[in-house]
Symmetry: C3
Subunit: 438 residues, 3 copies
């Protein structure tokens, strides 16, 4: 399998695949997702049209480690009407207008009594903030600061037509069996409403990645999780502790479509193979990229990297959450993510998979002195001139293939791209000069 | 116990404690100390008025490892008189005028015969140097270069009314028992005459530190040594080899009152807990500070860090010996040390004690995924906004409390101050989420 | 043995030894060397006039690991004559004119048929390139690009009066037995024709080094190899696998006479004692020097550091091969190497031998506190002043002589030159304060 290289090349020619991902994001954008309810069900249904997806429903009240699966939340409509019956805040115009998990309410409020339930962003007066109240029953509206300023001191007809009842938590899983039961985990949260970078970008890249990998031979098995953030990861881990032990490498994908350079946050281990593979791929990608140390705040790597699991799962982002002003606002819309950026993120992810798939240990069968490459047609014929990078790569693979250095080790030590080292290894293997370590 | 934080805050309000230390230094300044004799006895008596002090007298001739306790030296008077009977050099004006440990002499000398016994500093013509001759019997005078230039070529009446006889070496020890027999050692040399930074600064900070710690609960026992340099440390170690094995952390304090930034010289081990605690405290102190690698020249850490003991003892200084021109001259006087600097040194030392006292290993009782902090009131209630540093600290403590990371490890890895991590740990411990490692 | 220091001093006074080396290079320069044949035999004979040399002849066809000893190549004459019978290219003017290992040829060629057999350097139109065709039977001429441009489109009488027949591969070995059978290997390739830096510089430095070391007591045995590149090292290793196991330290010497600063390429191990010794010597040498990581392309360290052997052999160069335009051209002539540079290279090599010879582990016999150096005359007598570097060195040796730190470790940690540490150790040993570790 070498999909990353293929993808990179195809993407160089056109960003068709990027356009497709952006189009898919556009399709998902209007759905009012939350950590439970019909929004996430509809989202998973659309993903399931593209890749094989198993849907799980976990009943409200189920204990998952220290937590319980919450009530299911659904919403039909919500508004604030003025004296004239005009909807001055209307859920139908943006699902961000309602604090996620708002309890139902229908009553008349004076502005001053309503005010504590209104959230705005004074520094960005045209943007609607995104707020939630999952674990404390409450209700509220988010609106632009300019909307708030326009509200007259009067009574308002306030309605949130929601339900918060026993139901279930829903998540989707795409499992692609490989030669080995050892797994690569790709996880992304699917619980945010109309926010594009956070995290329709992750959903569309993961879906496309699964679609590409489904068509390839795979050494590892791959598991893609489309889950509500935090409670979803906790629920999955609680129900799949044995499976979790099969995870050899993992990535959380989030905020991967904006115009920024890459940020990769390492796993808690800090030197996991996926950490080293990602660093290698990003270093040779030609993209700006920054490697961040692990920290216990962020996305679902918080759960995968909790001390009891300590899984080798890192988090790939472009701009990091909380550092861009559009984060968790209505400005994180479809214009904020770009087809080319989605495509290049996909390329990086597939290249990392290539490294993981092909990273092996070899043993030089002629370990005493160099073998004579020339008689095998693997060396230049005229002495006295310099040699090509391909021959350098062969010498590196031969020199370090002592069973102690993986191809990724050799790539890193030589400074050469993994694919160049892999090409050399495949040639040397075909010549019988190296064999895979037993 | 959390004295450093308290001290820092108090010192922010006033430098009263700094003024008290400076006043104490002023009281000790005129005493003519040496490595033995009544000068150090008087000094220890004054320290003993402030903290509980055990005085040891070790007889001249006692073998202490490769050394022997020297004769006791005392001095009553010394001068150089000119033809007119005027004291052109007078011990009563500065005890630096006599080379420490000068043998008695009373005779008439021509200037040329006297000259080899006269020490000056031509580059600082107004300053008197400080010189000693402990281990080779000799005598001499130290004077300003201008004094020397003013001497006429004539005969002089030279007198050193000293005695160098069998007696004893004196040192003082303040022991504060804690819950554990494991000890923290604070050591400072008390053998220099009228020199303020070297080392009345160390004496006054150590005395005040003992006084503060005496009033607190202590996990560790604390031992403060007020000893003559080199021979004092050697004597103490020779007589207390078993006790030395109880020392878990230690600091030599010297030159800690001048206007310079901090210098901390690490123990021979280089990664001892006291080294890491001091580096942490200095990094978060807001003071300029430089960390120096261990070297076998300096103060009594030379003895504590000799290879047979290899104790985890570092050395805290402000300006380092030998690097400031006032070092070992009459210019190292009471104006050279500052109340605020003494107070901030005390604050750093107490903060290091806080870290050592409170640095423990905890074990997360909910290691699989994060525990639900919200239901315990330990998390923000509205999602979508950023979290406070206090919550960050809780997540860090939970994530790294696997029994392998101490609170200091967690503080260093998170970049957060130890006290923030400690606050989080105490809260989590109170909630039953972590327990101390058995 | 402390030859490096002596050499350095002598070289400081005059570069007589450098002139001698340059003179020897001049003597060797005209010989037409290749990887086999009379050229290398003559060269070894001249080396054998200076140092005891054992010559080995290994028959053509002998299997050496994955290789076979090639046919022996000899050449008597070669030329390209124009219509007027003038030699427009003449082997007698430069032995670089013939591609090394050219098969015999004598025929008339049109320029266009001859052209594929002609090698030039268009970017340096006055220089003749150096080319070989060891392992593919071929023939060719190297000439300056201006010579090529002057050739008319006509027929040429082309002659290479060479032989390529069963014979043998020749190499020379100088073995200096020491107290131990453990060996230091010095290896240099002797197969290049009229090229001065690459590698008459290595040959002359190695020869002089052997000559100097022959007159000294030696802890290690020393083995100097003068061999054809690649096939020579492979042949020696194949025939001396047991001896190779005795090699404790090794250096390949090449390109060590040009005007550039030093480059030391570390062994595959990267932290071998020879790597650390060379880094230490270069750091204190006052010469510009760069340390390079190991890579599997270069000179015969490729074979010594193949994974089956993994010998601690580094490579000392001044300018590195391939990075200077004169490399492998007629411009790498006697003017390109300098007596002073050869002499300073010799000094560095001998200093590294000094370190290897004298690097030992000692054990402080007074490990508890410092011993009293003063009573042994090893300390200053008047206290209060700073101490000399010699006393610093004694304190360092005493402090770190716990059986775990070698003198080189102590030198590196203290930042002091090895010789200063060695002097201190010898003095302390003579005083009985340290003894060599059993």
């Amino acid at each position: 399998m070498r999909t990353g290289a293929v993808m990179d090349r195809r993407m160089g020619e056109s960003s068709e695949i990027g356009e497709q991902m952006h189009q898919f994001a556009k399709e998902l954008y209007p759905i009012c997702r939350s950590i439970t309810g019909d929004g996430i069900r509809k989202t998973l249904a659309k993903i399931g049209e593209r890749i094989p997806l198993t849907i799980s429903e976990v009943p409200t009240g189920t204990t998952v480690f220290d937590w319980q699966v919450p009530k299911e939340w659904n919403i039909r409509d919500a508004y604030i009407k003025n004296l004239h019956g005009e909807r001055v805040v209307d859920f139908k115009r943006s699902n961000l207008h309602v604090v996620s998990y708002s309890a139902p309410v229908h009553a008349t409020f004076s502005l001053s009594n309503l005010r504590p339930h209104l959230h705005t962003l004074p520094d960005h007066p045209d943007w609607i903030p995104y707020r939630t109240s999952y674990y404390r029953e409450d209700w509220g509206f988010c609106l632009s600061h300019n909307q708030l300023l326009a509200l007259q001191d009067a009574d308002y007809d306030v309605c949130i037509d929601s339900s918060l009842e026993a139901g279930s938590l829903t998540y989707g899983e795409c499992y692609l069996a490989g030669q080995s039961e050892n797994e690569v985990l790709i996880s992304c949260h699917a619980c945010h409403p109309s926010l594009a970078n956070d995290n329709l970008s992750g959903l569309t890249v993961a879906t496309t990645m699964a679609s590409v990998l489904a068509g390839r031979d795979r050494r590892y098995s791959y598991r893609f999780l489309f889950i509500p953030g935090t409670i979803g990861a906790i629920t999955w881990l609680a129900r799949n502790a044995d499976t979790a032990r099969q995870i050899r490498h993992g990535l959380v994908l989030t905020c991967v479509g904006d115009a920024g350079g890459f940020h990769y946050k390492k796993s808690r281990r800090g030197d996991a193979e996926v950490d080293r593979a990602m660093e290698h791929v990003l270093r040779h990608s030609g993209e700006t990229a920054e490697i961040l140390e692990f920290s216990p705040y962020g996305y679902d790597e918080r759960q995968y990297c909790s001390p009891g699991f300590n899984l080798p799962v890192g988090c790939l982002m472009r701009s990091t959450w909380g550092t861009f002003p559009e984060y968790h606002t209505s400005a994180d819309n479809l214009d904020f993510i770009h087809p080319g950026q989605l495509a290049r993120t996909l390329g990086v992810c597939l290249s990392v998979c290539d490294v993981l798939e092909e990273n092996r240990f070899y043993v030089n069968q002629n370990p005493f002195c160099e073998p004579q490459l020339g008689k095998r047609g693997l060396y230049r014929s005229t002495g006295g001139e310099s040699i090509d990078v391909e021959i350098h790569a062969r010498l590196w693979v031969l020199n370090l293939s002592d069973g102690e250095h993986s191809l990724l080790d050799i790539a890193d030590r030589s400074g050469l791209p993994f694919n160049t080292i892999l090409d050399a290894a495949e040639l040397l293997k075909a010549s019988g000069l190296i064999t895979e370590k037993a």
